[in-house]
């Protein structure tokens, strides 16, 4: 089966000052898969995410989402495409002056043009979908715990029923139980809504339990992009240290035991 390519990164170069983050980076993401992006600190995982969603303008190279080059599109066409993806930022990035329900309702009101009442109702469902209790909707982001902020941010990212979901370290700062629940949630939502998920993470358990493929960023490019067991066999010092270090072994063990 040849799946449709929804994100196509070709020859990407990102440079900040004299520091080159990406050099001639290529990556394909296929429809319906969960792809995990891993790499050491400072290898430009978040930068790659921000480049794909159009927040960072690359020095060279091309990024195509749904076959369109975001940066070359006129403003209104670009907004159209941007509605088809949802982004969960590392620290949630909920608007602190709005309640959680209003945060989720915002894109529904602005883009889908729903009346406020309908948007609030639908926002309630999205929040429940993300696994938040009902009363959380009335709270402000500063009143929520870290895990709840991540869930609320996920609900906002899902508000417009996106086709691609970008997650930047979704389980960072969560306790193992919440993190595992979040992993399950992502897989459930992917299966239910047919999402494509672009996941930047450091969490080995998340990689093993959710990702169909893993892309390793190293030496300014994608070193390998394949199912996790294949990637773990790659002959590279960093990959070996990452996947076969003590934490990696524990996660592998857990994953294989869990899988039977």
């Amino acid at each position: 089966m040849t799946a449709e390519t929804v994100i196509e990164v070709r020859g990407l170069v990102n440079r900040f000052g004299t520091q080159t983050v990406h050099e001639d980076l290529n990556l394909d993401v296929y429809r319906g898969e969960i792809i995990g992006i891993v790499g050491g600190s400072g290898t430009g995982k978040s930068v790659l995410l921000r480049t794909i969603v159009g927040l960072v303008r690359p020095v060279a190279g091309e990024v195509r989402v749904f076959g369109e080059n975001l940066l070359a599109l006129p403003e209104d066409r670009r907004s159209q495409v941007e509605r088809r993806f949802g982004v969960l930022f590392q620290s949630g990035a909920l608007f602190s002056s709005l309640t959680v329900a209003e945060n989720v309702a915002l894109p529904l009101v602005e883009h889908a043009g729903l009346p406020r009442m309908d948007a609030q109702r639908l926002a309630g469902v999205k929040l429940a979908l993300a696994g938040l209790p009902v009363d959380a909707g009335r709270k402000y982001p500063s009143q929520l715990s870290g895990g709840m902020i991540k869930r609320a941010a996920l609900a906002r990212a899902l508000a417009l029923d996106p086709e691609i979901l970008f997650l930047d370290e979704p389980t960072a700062g969560l306790d193992p139980i919440s993190a595992a629940a979040f992993d399950n949630l992502i897989v459930t939502l992917r299966n239910a809504l047919g999402l494509t998920v672009f996941l930047v993470t450091h969490d080995l358990d998340t990689l093993y339990s959710t990702c169909d493929r893993v892309a390793v960023l190293s030496q300014r490019r994608v070193l390998a992009a394949a199912p996790i067991d294949e990637v773990a066999k790659t002959d590279d010092a960093w990959v070996q240290a990452y996947f076969n270090g003590p934490r990696g072994r524990a996660a592998t063990f857990a994953a294989h035991r869990g899988g039977g």
Binding site: R84, S96, S97, L108, A112, L114, P115, D118, L122, G124, V125, K126, L127, A128, L129, P133, V134, D135, R138, P141, S142, L158, L160, D161, E163, T188, L189, N191, A192, L193, G194
Partner: protein, 380 residues
């Protein structure tokens, strides 16, 4: 996926086999309002006996699934989600949304009331808030004085570097703006005096007006209001962002006293800087007045000085100067206290910064009015 949409529809038909509900078309977000309305119309007439036909159902997303789930009810949705005839992705979607609705709909909705009681409640809350704020301010003043009493005898615990740095930031750095401001207000007061006193032929008393105004009131008031805007906000922002990043907690867990480390140097710095700035403000204000007197009233500088010397007693200067340390203390304490009240977010820093400026200006003007009354009774 989002292309070639045709709006979703729900048709309830009755034939020999009983009632039958057919869902067709795209049940997606763009059609949500219409679908929602249709669902509300049908809501009463769907019961367990109605058979369901979803064979012509097009695209389905969470909002569409939500409408379906609301229309059919929880139990029916869950049953539909078990239906083997549906593709697994669609079943998973229905199940997920059905589960979500179960938790969502069990919530109680709070009713909003915007009447007389609410107004009373708001007034009550505001009064209570004001009272608590005053109590907090008094408590914080107490803590500050206590901290001061504990360290004043122990020179090795004085934070001299921090003190000097704050004197520079709050005092020296404020000199240009303050001098300019007072100079201009001095000019304005002199213009005012020369215009108002002209009808009595007493324009020469403009000198007295400027002298009294700047020595007694304007010098210290302008300085205090400028510093309330400039320094109280800076103190709140500095301490508030430290609070938001848990730095204050770190100070405490290291066994250090945040009052001694952060509050005392700021309060003392302002206690030293504000009287000095007040002096500068008085001088520039009087100079501003003098310039206008020379330009408009053709008064020579020596005449201005002679009159100034003859009519102004030292009391006027001291009466004005005496207020400076009080204002300095209140501005610094309010600035620091609001910083400590910051909770969590960056937004909170902003709110408390605003609050610090408003409060310190309020307190400064209140105290100035009280002092004016007091001085009048004392015949100073």
């Amino acid at each position: 996926m989002a292309t070639a949409t045709f709006p979703g529809s729900a048709v309830l038909s009755r034939d020999a086999g009983g009632a039958r509900l057919s869902l067709a078309g795209d049940w997606t977000l763009p059609h949500y309002p219409a679908l929602q309305q249709r669902a509300t119309e049908l809501a009463g007439s769907i019961d367990a006996a109605v058979t369901l036909d979803i064979s012509r159902l097009g695209a389905l997303d969470t909002s569409g699934a939500f409408v379906i789930a609301e229309l059919l009810g929880s139990a029916r949705t869950q049953a539909l989600a078990q239906d083997e005839a549906l593709p697994p992705a669609r079943r998973a979607l229905l199940k997920t949304v059905g589960d979500a609705i179960d938790t969502y709909c069990t919530g109680v909705k709070r009713r909003r009331d915007a009447g007389f009681v609410v107004t009373l409640e708001r007034i009550g809350r505001a009064m209570h808030g004001f009272w608590r704020q005053t109590a907090k301010l008094l408590a914080f003043i107490g803590i500050t004085l206590q901290g001061f009493a504990a360290t004043v005898w122990r020179p090795h615990r004085w934070r001299v570097t921090s003190l000097v740095s704050h004197i520079e930031q709050t005092g020296l750095d404020a000199v240009p703006i303050l001098a300019l401001l007072s100079f201009m207000v001095g000019c304005v007061v002199a213009f005012l005096g020369s215009t108002a006193l002209a009808s009595y032929g007493a324009t020469v008393f403009t000198v007295d007006l400027i002298g009294f105004a700047f020595l007694r009131e304007f010098g210290v008031l302008l300085t205090a209001i400028l510093l309330a805007g400039r320094t109280a906000s800076a103190f709140t922002a500095q301490i508030g962002s430290m609070k938001a990043r848990e730095e204050i907690d770190a100070i405490r867990t290291l066994g250090l006293d945040p009052v001694e480390l952060l509050v005392l140097p700021r309060v003392l710095a302002l206690l030293i800087a504000l009287p000095m700035l007040t002096f500068i403000a008085m001088i520039s204000g009087v100079v501003g007045g003098a310039v206008v007197c020379m330009a408009v009233l053709k008064m020579s500088p020596s005449m201005f000085l002679t009159m100034f010397q003859a009519d102004m007693s030292l009391t006027q200067f001291l009466v004005g100067m005496a207020k400076a340390p009080v204002f300095a203390f209140m501005i610094a304490v309010i600035g620091c206290m609001e910083g400590f009240k910051v909770a969590g977010s960056a937004q909170s820093v902003g709110e408390h910064t605003t609050s610090a400026v408003v409060q310190s200006i309020f307190v400064v003007i209140l105290l100035d009015a009280l002092a004016a009354l007091f001085y009048m009774e004392m015949d100073w």
